[in-house]
Amino acid sequence: MDTLKLLWDGFAVAFSLKNMLWALAGVTLGTMVGILPGIGPALTVALLLPVTFGRDPVGSFIMFAGIYYGGMYGGSTTAILLNTPGESASIITALEGNLMARRGRGGAALATAAIGSFVAGTLATAGLTFLAPALVRVALRFGPAEYFALMVLAFTTVTSLLGGSLVKGLTSLLFGMALGLVGIDLQTGQARYTLGMLEMLDGIDVVIVAVGLFAVGEALYAASQLARGAPEVVAVRGSIWMNREEWRRSWPAWIRGGLLGFPLGALPAGGAEIPTFLSYSLERRLSRHRDEFGRGAIEGVAGPEAANNAAAAGVLVPLLTLGIPTSATAAIMLAAFQQFGLQPGPLLFQNNPELVWGMIASLYLGNAMLLVLNLPLVGLWVRLLTVPQPLLYGGILVFATLGVYSLSNSLVDLMTLLVIGLVGFAMRRMDVPVAPAVIGLILGPLAEQQLRRALAISQGDFTVFFTRPISATLLALALIALAGPALARIVAARRRKSRVAAM
């Protein structure tokens, strides 16, 4: 029970008044930047980095970790209330969360997001405490072939988001994948579909597309409908908190989201978005209220929100044990370690136990602080929905524009936002779902790069995807996810027929 002893020492460090104040500052700041689209935890830590030079590393890292966790909490608030995802990991939250808010269950959606984040965050922090070294060995077995197979599995999520028409859903998906092609091709360094503009060389940021399709498209659509009489929006229907039924439906989703998010977040090229996709499709398949998906199902908020917070803790596994940064924030935290003369990796746990265990202990503490900070705010936030619609949507447009401008202070970004917003409006008019486009944009380029890397390493041999066990397993799961429902239907139909025949 060496780990417990070290963790205990860590709590002694984290519970000093000074470090608790650092943690509080971090989680508060993190929640605030998480709410604004564009400004994320990565940027915040980067800006604070030179300020902390020469100061106490333990306190600084406790604050950085707080910002990181806080950002994941904050991102869900605007996704649920305003349909404006603050980070790419909360895009899925916006799908069911915003629909819930419109049915008067915004308070419950915010609460399940906050409590789910706490439950999964704590679960994943425990995973980080006890399982990190074992997990990292598995994670390293993932090469380009395995990642490609994982992307294929994540792509099957799209099947639960296609909506009524297969053609419309696939059009949306392909539109997203096409947007993903814009920019410099990483494998060859050549520019694709940039229209000769330097600003397009880095591709189109996911946040711009998500905010454009969701928030701007939605606002334009709402404006076009106002003349026909605004639909009634009820801020709160029933209790502001989660009712018993909602609790019962939330907690298994939290646990599953956490179990999915933590290991996937720990993969060196995993990230926080893929677990939210997988969690959403898993919840939809398992739910007894499948008909509610697309109208505001609480599992669709609870699962993905739990998954993205667990993934955030997972990201710390390769960072602390190997010194591998797998997200923008982790990359900057790595720079911070180096600035303090610390080398993350196998030696960090031996050389700086006070720092590592103090930081891990502060994550438990920060999670609890975030819950205390966020739950009372739920009542305040849902009042936003009582703002008259024209003002609310006007506010969303201002907020979205500000957020996107803050990404890189670029006018081209704003033009892109407007164009994508118009496309989002057109898609709503024609009843084309927007979620597949965002999934195509995130997964398309990742899958392409991993596929080409895998084939370059194998020198063009396609069998690597089937001969490597992890890759083959993931592809088999993808096949089951795709063909499973259809097969089940056929089997059920046969059975019915044979029963009829027997009668």
Binding site: A42, L43, V45, A46, L47, L49, P50, F53, A139, L140, R141, F142, G143, P144, I184, D185, L186, Q187, T188, G189, Q190, A191, L198, E199, L201, D202, P268, A269, P318, L322, G323, I324, P325, T326, A328, A330, A331, I332, L334, A335, Q338, Q339, F340, G341, Q343, P344, G345, P346, L347, L348, S408, N409, S410, Q449, R453, A456, I457, Q459
Partner: protein, 333 residues
Amino acid sequence: MRMTVPGRCSRFVAVLGMAFLAVAAIGPLAPAQEATPPDSLRIMAPASPGGGWDQTARFAQAVFRETGIIPGSVEVFNVPGAGGTIGLARLVSTERGAGDLVMISGLVMVGAILTNRSAVTLAQTTPIARLTAEYEVIAVPADSPFQTMDDLIEAFKANPGAVSWAGGSAGGVDHILVGLLAKEIGVAPEDINYIPFSGGGEALAAMLGGHVAAGVTGYGEWAGQIEAGNLRALAVSAGERIPGVDIPTLKELGINIEVANWRGVVAPPGITAQERDALIAAFDQLHDSARWQEILAANNWNDFYLSGDDFADYLAQENARVEQVLRDIGLVE
């Protein structure tokens, strides 16, 4: 706001500067050492916050402020995108003639200008100073059959496609080093099986998992793994051994290649000689400060200082060398 409209005050300074220029043109040329740093400075980091260029800008800002080398305001702003060429385009167009501005630049930008077919180049800027360098390391996974650089080179020569190299973006510093190595040992550069990864993390994971044969990156990024014995370093790209690092240089091994991933600062075109000298004086003083040396040590950056005309010459040489390699690899036509 990133753009500052030149106020009456700076116009006055500019007029004064021109008057000085006129005097200097008539009278004997004042030696550069006597120049004093400007009253205020803006530093453009042509990348997002957090990267090497941004950190260089922000640490320079901290030193200028703390030491009082620059008495007035020192502002850092980011113009990210396209390997720094978006910032460069800003520098040579809208900021033309701004004597209170420098932009962080480096070897990565030299490559990006060529591969992005940027309309503006570093030749259009006013070179001020080269500041830091990070050297590249060539490494293999710990359980790799390659024990020495010779083993790796032998396999690379025998079947270039079978040796997959992990590194950063295509046409970046890592790729350039592999290209130079191929040329030097007689492998056709277009036969290199180079696998670009985004960011050092993914490449490191591929190395630790044994998914690639060899890898190239900045030494600092993998130093911890090399010390812990998870990676085996075969060579570094420095001219002489890096102090405190027990890894042979390529030159020691008889391969005549030296690559330094350097960073420096350039000013906009069209500034006066006085403004240029003032900026050079500011960075000369920065380099001489104890605080800057402390920062170099803390970040594992090597001191690589060179200023004024010497830096301009170096820049021209680097440009020619990089262009040739990128042509050989097939990334530039």
